[in-house]
């Protein structure tokens, strides 16, 4: 299931290491996560559900859904999609909830940090925020739970839209490279493989884990750039291994060079579904169909045209009814919808070994809610989002947001928001950034001036305060 040749990507694979899965040796490349290494070796079942013992596999591949929990070196409930594999590691399928480890020895030590600004998440918003702050000499600590910086940019092999100023026409992976280079040249302090899991308002402390080390972070300001995760939709068999988020397939294919399947079905014709489908074609994977419950393609038409000219059919007003298979997807049963979007009797089957969902993203708001930020449910923004001022400050003083966590948009808007949040903080710190800020706000307004942004603008109005 390995991809060797790719029109855009080069996969560097040097040495190999060995770890153990259920007692058997498995080969892996260093720098890949446990979940990816298992997939590369054709292992899709990661655990069995607690009650019904149904097989479970990967869903988000970016540390956000807990569908990939396994026992690693005796510790249960480890998210294997964000844990780097190590020589000799012992990985086991977990049956049910897992037992607590008998000692807490694995928690080796504790460290404290007091940055001026803590930036959570290193996607386009977080990277831009960190760069903007550090450029002015402000002390930043950037935290990323995945092994790589760049968030979802690192798997975007397509050229971006937007204006040249926001790097349109450049591929996402290139943007990530450029931003990370800038970050490094500015010597921004960052930690990858680090999960921030809790906030205590009284002590104003954030707790995070990094390789068995507890970090206590006491920041003056925080930029939450935690991004979003893929939504699930209800249908029979949606928990079967190889039913996964389109973004997870993208991680497998574009970051690690592993095929998600041979014949796949994409559910949802928004931009994510269309773009990922095209990227699968580029990786030599057959996209059997794209189905879309609505009566129109929701993503950009040009993305759809890129697929149809390769013979990929897009069925609008059609949805998935059932995923069928024993230990993994073997086929999908689709159903046409009537004009009221109710299921008709017209059903058809297609043979696929993976079903990818791109039915929308939801902001990763959990930390914000924990921090006491006032939240509101806004469907057009993707779900629960924090209220915020024009300067992107939440209802909790000195806590800012940027990017998809405040409402699902594009990477280009996320970058601008990351910059805006930082400029707002710089302003509070006494820097003269008024002009820069005004120009930026204008650029943002321009990007949001198309019909695609109408609903988003409406949603943003509902969460604006002051």
């Amino acid at each position: 299931m390995e991809i060797f040749e790719h029109p855009i990507l080069r996969f560097e694979r040097k040495s190999k290491i060995t770890f153990f899965f259920e007692g058997n040796p498995v080969e892996a490349y260093p720098q890949e996560t446990v979940a990816m290494a298992l997939y590369r070796n054709g292992i899709n079942v990661f655990s069995y559900s607690p009650k019904l013992h149904r097989p479970r596999g990967l869903f988000c591949a970016i540390g956000k859904c807990s569908s990939c929990l396994m026992e690693v070196n005796g510790i249960p409930n480890v998210r294997t999609c964000i844990l780097n594999v190590q020589e000799g590691m012992k990985v086991k399928r977990q049956n049910g909830l897992g037992d607590l480890p008998k000692t807490s020895e694995f928690l080796k030590s504790e460290k404290e940090y007091s940055p001026t600004v803590l930036v959570i998440g290193s996607g386009p918003a977080g990277l831009m925020a960190s760069i903007t702050l550090k450029e002015k000499g402000v002390d930043v600590l950037l935290i990323e739970q995945n092994p790589n910086l760049g968030g979802q940019l690192i798997k975007q092999t397509h050229k971006f839209f937007g204006s040249q100023k926001e790097k349109a026409g450049t591929r996402g992976i290139e943007i990530a490279n450029e931003l990370v280079k800038e970050l490094n040249s500015l010597d921004v302090n960052y930690f990858t493989n680090t999960t921030l899991f809790s906030f205590y308002p009284r002590e104003n402390v954030f707790l995070a884990f990094k390789d068995n080390e507890l970090l206590k972070i006491f920041p003056k300001f925080v930029v939450f750039a935690t991004g979003a995760s893929e939504k699930m939709i209800p249908f029979e068999g949606n928990d079967l291994p190889n039913v996964m988020g389109a973004g997870a397939a993208q991680t497998l294919v574009n970051v690690y060079g592993i095929k998600v399947g041979t014949n796949v079905l994409m559910v949802g014709a928004g931009n994510v579904g269309l773009i990922v489908s095209y990227q699968l074609l580029q990786a030599g994977i057959n996209v059997k169909a794209v189905v879309e419950a609505s009566d129109k393609i929701g993503g950009y038409f040009v993305h759809a045209a890129k697929l149809t000219r390769f013979g990929v059919p897009i069925y609008t007003r059609t949805t998935i009814k059932k995923a069928v298979g024993v230990d993994k997807v073997e086929k999908a049963i689709l159903v046409e919808l009537d004009e009221n979007f109710n299921e008709t009797s017209k059903e058809f089957e297609i043979d696929v070994d993976a079903i990818l969902l791109s039915v929308g993203l939801q902001p990763s708001y959990q930390l914000l809610a924990q921090a006491g930020c006032e939240m509101k449910y806004i469907p057009s923004l993707g779900g629960y989002v924090p209220l915020r001022s024009k300067e992107l400050e939440t209802s909790v003083k000195n806590f800012y947001i940027a990017g998809d966590v405040g409402g699902i948009e594009e990477a280009s808007t996320a970058m601008l928001e990351g910059k805006l949040a930082s400029l707002s903080i710089l302003k509070k710190l006494g820097f003269d950034v008024e002009k820069e800020k005004e120009a930026l706000e204008l650029d943002l307004a321009k990007l949001r001036s198309t019909p695609f942004s109408k609903k988003i603008l409406q949603g943003l109005k509902e969460v604006a305060y002051e």
């Binding site: 040749e5 790719h6 029109p7 855009i8 397509h158 050229k159 971006f160 839209f161 937007g162 204006s163 040249q164 349109a168 026409g169 450049t170 591929r171 290139e174 014709a269 074609l281 580029q282 030599g284 794209v290 009566d295 129109k296 393609i297 950009y300 038409f301 040009v302 993305h303 759809a304 045209a305 890129k306 697929l307 149809t308 000219r309 390769f310 013979g311 990929v312 897009i314 609008t316 594009e410 280009s412 321009k446 990007l447 001036s449 198309t450 019909p451 695609f452 942004s453």
Partner: protein
Amino acid sequence: MSNYLEKGYLEVSDIIDNFPSEDVFSLHPVAVSECVQEIPCNPCVSSCPTKAITMQDISSIPVINYEQCIGCGKCVQVCPGLALFLVFKNKDSYEITLPYEMLPLPKVLDEVYLLDRTGKRIGTGIVKRVIKVEKNTYSSLITVSFKEKSLIYEVRNIGVKNG
């Protein structure tokens, strides 16, 4: 316009009215656009050395001035929507230049399948030129030639034989 958002492709009738006349694309290749929906995008405009592509603002539809276009292909390489093509009448054959981002790339003089907007094979053509772009922000360009004039309105992809 056809119901292109239901099926994901345009019909010839959607583009024929704005298509350049044969006189115009007999002199040199000319860019044509299939970017018909308002999206926030404009690299085609900034990439054009002769300012042949204009747009009211970033979310408008690009308009190509066929008289001003010199057929350099910059916009085709840069367009993230792969929605721009070059058309050319070269003596007794017709040529289309399209962006291509798949493997394997065809070679010059290869015979390839000509595909329409739905991926259907509608003929064969000969590869005239391959511009493989190393700088990976751009798409490679393939120029194919064929005899039938009507195909210039329909061919928007190629299929590499044994590929």
